[in-house]
């Protein structure tokens, strides 16, 4: 079965986010003073083939821990859906 995994990777709250800071400043420059605390992260979509949703989820966590996420600075969360549903 095919599953669509979406992964959101964000910097840990304790890690300074230079990009977020710069974007916040740029928005203020543009006059958006009501906007604040921009934090930048990554969004990934991955197709996983597995026998069950559970197996797919386990795989997804595995590749996150091994490759996609650096636990020193980042945390992540993921959602998983059968591919057909995701396509809708």
């Amino acid at each position: 079965m095919d599953f669509k995994v979406t992964i959101v990777v964000t910097l840990k709250p304790s890690v300074l986010d230079p990009q977020g800071t710069t974007v916040t400043e740029a928005l203020h420059h543009m006059g958006y003073n009501n906007v604040s605390d921009v934090r930048m992260g990554k969004f990934m979509e991955v197709s996983v083939q597995a026998s069950s949703e559970k197996a797919a989820e386990q795989q997804a966590h595995e590749i996150c821990k091994k490759l996609l996420v650096n636990p020193v600075i980042e945390t992540y969360r993921l959602t998983i859906k059968p591919a057909q549903e995701a396509a809708v």
Binding site: P18, Q19, L67, N70, I73
Partner: protein, 235 residues
């Protein structure tokens, strides 16, 4: 003769520069080691060069650390032999866990290529033994992600174990945020592991070995290494 191995990852681009600098100034014995190789036998020092391994995609160094050669580099390092990671090589060492911490984008969010000064603050690694206190090494940086990060606890540990090897400073050796090109914690330009045989540094010593290029201060680091290795060999 001290034998060097320079690892070539897909996307390495300072591999030839390291090779050339070593061969020109320090040792006839230098090979490229292809990243798929699992044999690092016979080398006295391994260099992980700068560049953009795997395009720096995902995170700098994140994919290269899975290259087959890296498990051999780990064994090599745990045997106490010297490994130096320069720029992208440093980033690979961080991702592979051989050194603590991680890299963030420069605070300017821009790639920065220029000469800076760094000051050695640890004189017990093979790479820095021969350096002088208060010497300001004139050396280029060239990176987009050299903003070294480690949490407070980790920083304390680094300091306690004397693992900070180089800090950004001015031409008179004064360390301050004003001379930090990338926002790195504690103005760190280079660190080592607890044992001191694995060094990661953002600046490029191989770019300043030849006086024709404007500075030969980078030679000092390699000379220190050679000296230590020669001593060890004679022992």
């Amino acid at each position: 003769m001290i034998k060097f191995g320079v690892v070539m990852f897909p996307g390495s681009n300072c591999d030839h520069d390291c090779f050339y600098a070593v061969q020109q100034f320090f040792s006839d014995q230098v090979d490229f080691i292809w990243h798929k190789s699992t044999d690092v036998h016979g080398y006295d020092c391994i260099v992980l060069p700068g560049g953009f391994s795997y395009g720096d995609y995902l995170r700098t160094g994140a994919i290269a650390r899975f290259s087959p050669v890296m498990s051999e580099v780990k064994k090599f390092a745990s045997a106490g032999k010297p490994v130096i990671g320069i720029c992208n090589g440093f980033q690979i060492l961080l991702e592979s866990g051989l050194l603590p911490g991680a890299m963030l984008r420069n605070t300017s969010l821009r790639f920065i290529c220029k000469y800076v000064h760094i000051k050695p603050v640890n004189f017990s690694t093979p790479f820095s033994k021969g350096l002088k206190k208060n010497e300001a090494i004139h050396i280029p940086v060239a990176h987009g992600e050299g903003n070294y990060y480690i949490d407070d606890e980790g920083l304390k540990k680094l300091q306690k174990n004397n693992q900070i090897v180089f800090q950004y400073c001015n031409e008179r050796g004064i360390v301050s945020d004003d001379f930090n090109p990338n926002g790195s914690v504690a103005n760190i330009a280079g660190i080592c592991n607890e044992a001191g045989n694995v060094l990661g540094m953002m600046p490029h010593p191989e770019r300043c070995c030849d006086p024709m290029l404007g500075s030969s201060d980078g030679k000092r680091i390699f000379e220190s290494l050679l000296q230590s290795l020669n001593q060890r060999q004679t022992v």
